[in-house]
Symmetry: C2
Subunit: 308 residues, 2 copies
């Protein structure tokens, strides 16, 4: 195989109470990478579309070419590769944009090399991509982007990743308000210490959320989608967050939270129509405040990246 096209999905990290340990993959949006092998020994970035000129064109700095180089170095391979990146999702949105690009790049180069690594084996390399992109090798975006579905990162050291079940017919209604919060900034404002009493609430909710997903108990999932630690701080950076939550919950959302470090927010819904209606109302609410937004309605993506 000389060429491949890979789509890798956007992701919702944390899923409310599961800070740094839970994430889920969306079917849409995501990023597309087209990759060609060639006879050179260079990794070149031939094309970037959809980034409005904002991503680095230097292959050493662009996340996709950087992870491709890292992959080849780790496997001791020398290979000429040319890369095209089609950004099909916003970045700085809290939807795992850099993860989607890195995962698409890794899955593409792995496929072109004859798939020597499983998707789970690609995870540490994708986490290295996250370190390049935002200085922190967290896995709550790259793990679901690579593996699809709903993923628990039980432990980072050693890395222990578990795919969780979830009810069918869940829809994520995702709204990206056009305000920018870089992930590194969003992490900086978090406290380094928290009260034990808040931590106990959080692990009660994380346990409840996992139990709710296993038992397909929509009500328990909703009750457990409470974040007493990270959300109150990050919500300050998201205009109208609590009004949006109230609107979503009044209109039938199971739960509502911040996607990753924001500013995107998501309403978990048990049917598509509810999601559509909530997105309309949320975007109208922000429009009144003069804030534009993107709307995405997606089931949970079971398959993960798609190779074409």
């Amino acid at each position: 195989m000389k060429s491949v096209e890979v789509f890798a999905p956007a992701t919702i990290a944390n899923v409310s109470c599961g800070y740094d340990v839970l994430g889920l993959a969306l079917e849409t949006p995501g990023d597309k990478v087209v990759m060609h092998l060639n006879e050179s020994k260079e990794i070149t970035l031939d094309r970037i579309e959809g980034d409005e000129g904002r991503l680095p064109k230097d292959p050493a700095k662009n996340i996709v070419t950087a992870v491709v180089k890292y992959y080849l170095d780790q496997l001791g391979l020398q290979q000429g590769v040319s890369v095209e990146l089609y950004k099909q999702m916003p970045f700085g949105s809290g939807l795992g944009s850099s993860s989607a690009s890195a995962v698409a790049g890794l899955v593409a180069i792995n496929e072109l090399m004859g798939a020597p690594l499983s998707r789970k084996e690609l995870l540490p390399l994708a986490m290295e991509g996250e370190r390049l992109a935002c200085g922190n090798a967290h896995a709550d975006n790259v793990a679901p982007a690579l593996l699809g579905g709903l993923v628990l990162i039980r432990s980072y050291d050693p890395l222990d990743v578990i795919s969780l079940p979830y009810p069918e017919n869940l829809f994520c209604a995702v709204l990206y308000p056009h305000v920018e919060i870089p992930t590194s900034e969003a992490r900086k404002i978090l406290k380094t210490h928290i009260p034990v009493s808040d931590a106990v609430k959080q692990w009660g909710n994380v346990a409840g959320l996992v139990a709710g997903f296993f038992t397909q108990n929509i009500d328990l999932i909703g009750r457990s989608m409470e974040d007493h630690i990270i959300e109150p701080i990050r919500a300050m950076l998201i205009p109208g967050f609590y009004e949006m939550r109230q609107l979503a919950m009044e209109n039938g959302a199971i739960g509502f939270g911040i996607s990753g470090s924001g500013p995107s927010v998501f309403a978990l819904c048990d049917n598509e129509a509810t999601g559509t209606e909530i997105l309309e109302k949320l975007s109208d609410l922000l429009k009144k405040e003069g804030i534009g937004s993107n709307k995405y309605l997606s089931p949970i993506n079971q398959a993960g990246p798609i190779i074409r």
Copy 2:
């Protein structure tokens, strides 16, 4: 019905990483209460056995008669009751001794009154008993003592209690070393604030433990039985804790931890013989240090209190 005998079980609160949110019931040991209705309007404590004279004989101060009075007051009932308490487990052991007594008393009086309350409805009353006994209305002993099995307390406000599944053939090998640590003291030495990074590890493990119980994945249950927050502090009060852990793990335990606030420790095992062997080795280890101990080997108690 004029008389009833109720056995209520000892419990392992926390189950390693689930501080204040997880607990499980044992089949043995536990406490027995015998209760008789009479024509007086008094609640009397006619007999206490097995306490070596250490429990209060004043019905206003004894936990069993106190919760019986609380129950009758809450339901607006006036009723003469005489109570006999047969302590069949140590107290100050970290095995939920006061919970077992309170639950036995509550189930007994409820049964004699015609069972107007369900076991779940008795829970807030049992928690009030915990407040009387140790100043803190926690539920991680009383909930499993009342409901049996493995219980998640997702939230205390509002109270939200969820019974979790678990693999068959799990055995708890429990060792109670003869050193005393009152619960109120054990809670005092805990920190009020913890690093977010430790909290993330903890809720990753709690989520992994719940997932392990749902999937009957013994290995995942074992990997998740890590407590980075409470155990390192409480272990200091338990002689030989880390030697005991090593011995238990080397001899086939799935996981090892402190029961409640200690000093009892438990090894979770996937068969009875392993549990027996581990208990022998642990008690021998302590004996060398001049410390006596009680050994209990029990499956998880699915049924909860037993009415005879």
